[in-house]
């Protein structure tokens, strides 16, 4: 059984079925990309795994434990970190306070907090330079680094990233995704939602394509990148824009 195992997830918004039986899995060291257009259900999938939404049926298991029905703040402690769409950093707090909150569950272990912060600063030196600065005054790229760094403070087994490259200049997007690869190489399972399919497939090991709440394609990322259907739907014509 995989580290993260999602089976036949059905999620509703009121009477509207947003996820119609999503199944996916991810293992340590793996980047698993979830691709799909707007409203396909990518964000809903992540929000359900992290406990912000409750599924009507289906199962989510992490390291053999069920996450369904568990409160979002408890799921963090079970090793799943979610960097939400739009970064959602705490703009009135400074960089360091944002990171401290990322380590909220280990807040009594000052030494551990210090080590984790040092590790985040190692990954994103820019954040170290701006540790006392209000997060709301950071550039978009720095805010994304902060959002990822904040999620790493809990040393997650599974890191879920929702559109980490959205709104970033192409160079910066590339560098953020390179760091995501680095995080996976250190042993985390990464679930990566991206509209920028080309770049996502370039760093991912495995990928799923979602359309209106269903998985329509899955497979090795390199193979999918060459798949005609994927190229037509997600890779064609978007190159110059960088994202769909």
């Amino acid at each position: 059984m995989a580290l993260l195992e999602v089976r036949d997830l059905h999620v509703y918004y009121g009477n509207i079925e947003a996820l119609k039986g999503i199944s996916l899995s991810a293992n340590p060291g793996q980047i698993v990309a979830i691709l799909g257009g707007n409203g396909a259900g990518k964000t809903t999938t992540l929000r359900t795994i992290s406990g912000l939404l409750r599924p009507r049926s289906g199962s989510v298991m992490c390291a053999g434990k069920s996450l369904v029905g568990v409160d979002a703040h408890v799921i963090v402690g079970m090793g799943v970190s979610h960097v939400p769409e739009g970064r959602r950093i705490f703009n009135i707090l400074n960089v360091e306070e944002n990171l401290n909150l990322g380590g909220y569950l280990i807040r009594a272990q000052h030494q551990l907090i210090k080590e984790r912060k040092a590790a985040v600063f190692g990954l994103f030196p820019r954040l170290a330079e701006r540790r006392g600065q209000l997060a709301g005054t950071l550039s978009g790229g720095e805010q994304q680094m902060l959002a990822i760094g904040r999620a790493l403070m809990s040393d997650p087994k599974v890191l879920m990233l929702d559109e980490p490259s959205l709104g970033l200049a192409p160079m910066l997007a590339k560098s953020v995704l390179k760091t995501v690869r680095e995080i996976a190489d250190r042993g985390a399972a990464v679930l990566l939602v991206e509209q920028n399919a080309r770049q996502a497939l370039a760093i991912a090991d495995h990928a799923y394509v979602i359309e209106v709440g269903r998985i329509v394609l899955e497979g090795n990322a390199a193979v999918l990148a060459k798949d005609e259907r994927v190229q037509k739907a997600y890779l064609g014509g978007f190159e110059s824009v960088g994202s769909a």
Binding site: H73, P84, F90, L93, L101, Y104, A151
Partner: protein
């Protein structure tokens, strides 16, 4: 000039009570966007709990420091429990539903506390022991300052300092500030949002209770309706400073206290409410975000 300074001393004393209650409004508003209209009445509950201990139980005869510690700490805990009960049974079922419903419930809770207090302690005016603290004082030039005034202002400042240290200096305090921005993002940090809301209600109630006991010591007389006007004035103070903003609530409280003292001194006590609520209306029209508040208001 002498008059002016004398009124200033009085205004700062009373203002520190308003500031404590205003902080309760502002902390709770910052986190769940609720004007907890029971805030002033929590102060009244604290005043009566303190009175019960000092007078009914006779703790006023204990050594003064011991009596004061008991008369502050026990009502602060008791009132915190009351506020947690209100949160659990009245507000929590409505959270994430309708802000209007919860606002009306808050008004209901204010009435509930008043009527419960009348039921428990009666409708009569009760009196704190008049000489609990030495009523003497000293002159600074033409201005008379009493030891009671100094003690109460210092105690208020200590409580406010403690609150600021907690909110600025601890991770739980940081989490409280984070909740003013984004509840879901806070959950994703592992923050138990419900628990932090409870902490905010405990802090708000403790500050209100402390101000209630202080009012009892300062004015001697207490009554089950005393929380109503106190609450409205403290609310004005919170709005004046920018609701959701902690330094703003403190400054707003002091300003309202000063305004009240100057009005009483230069005009007459009957004009107090006209001036205070005139200020509320003016602030709401001219600068609805208050003197210091822009952060929270941008989300409204």
């Amino acid at each position: 000039m002498g008059d002016f300074l004398q009124y200033t001393v009085i205004g700062l004393t009373v203002g520190s009570f308003y500031a404590l209650v205003a902080l309760g409004y502002t902390i709770v508003y910052g986190i769940i966007r609720l004007i907890n209209f029971a805030q002033g009445d929590l102060s009244m509950v604290g005043a009566f709990l303190g009175w019960t201990l000092l007078v009914s139980f006779g703790f006023e005869h204990l050594p003064i420091y011991l009596a004061l510690v008991i008369a502050f700490v026990v009502p602060m805990i008791g009132t915190a429990v009351v506020n947690l009960g209100i949160l659990q049974f009245a507000y929590k079922p409505l959270l994430r539903r309708s802000l209007l419903a919860i606002l009306i419930t808050a008004l209901g809770m204010s009435l509930l506390l008043q009527n419960s207090a009348e039921l428990i302690w009666g409708a009569a005016i009760e009196a704190y022991p008049p000489n609990l603290l030495p009523s003497s004082g000293f002159f600074v030039g033409p201005v008379h300052v009493t030891y009671v005034q100094i003690a109460l202002v210092v105690a208020s400042l200590l409580l406010m300092g403690g609150l600021v240290a907690f909110i600025q200096g601890t991770t739980i305090g940081t989490a409280m500030r984070a909740l003013a921005v984004d509840h879901d993002a806070a959950r994703l940090m592992g923050i138990n949002v419900d628990a932090v809301i409870r902490i905010a209600f405990v802090l708000g109630a403790m500050l209100a209770a402390a101000s209630g006991v202080m009012l009892g010591i300062y004015y001697v007389q207490i009554h089950f309706t005393m929380g109503f006007l106190l609450g409205l004035r403290a609310f004005t103070a919170a709005v004046l400073g920018g609701i959701g903003n902690i330094p703003g609530a403190m400054a707003g409280g002091m300003l309202i206290g000063l305004l009240e003292a100057y009005t009483t001194g230069y005009l007459s006590g009957t004009w107090e409410d006209v001036v205070v609520f005139g200020v509320l209306i003016t602030v709401l029209i001219v600068k609805p975000t208050g003197l210091f508040g822009e952060r929270v208001a941008e989300r409204m």
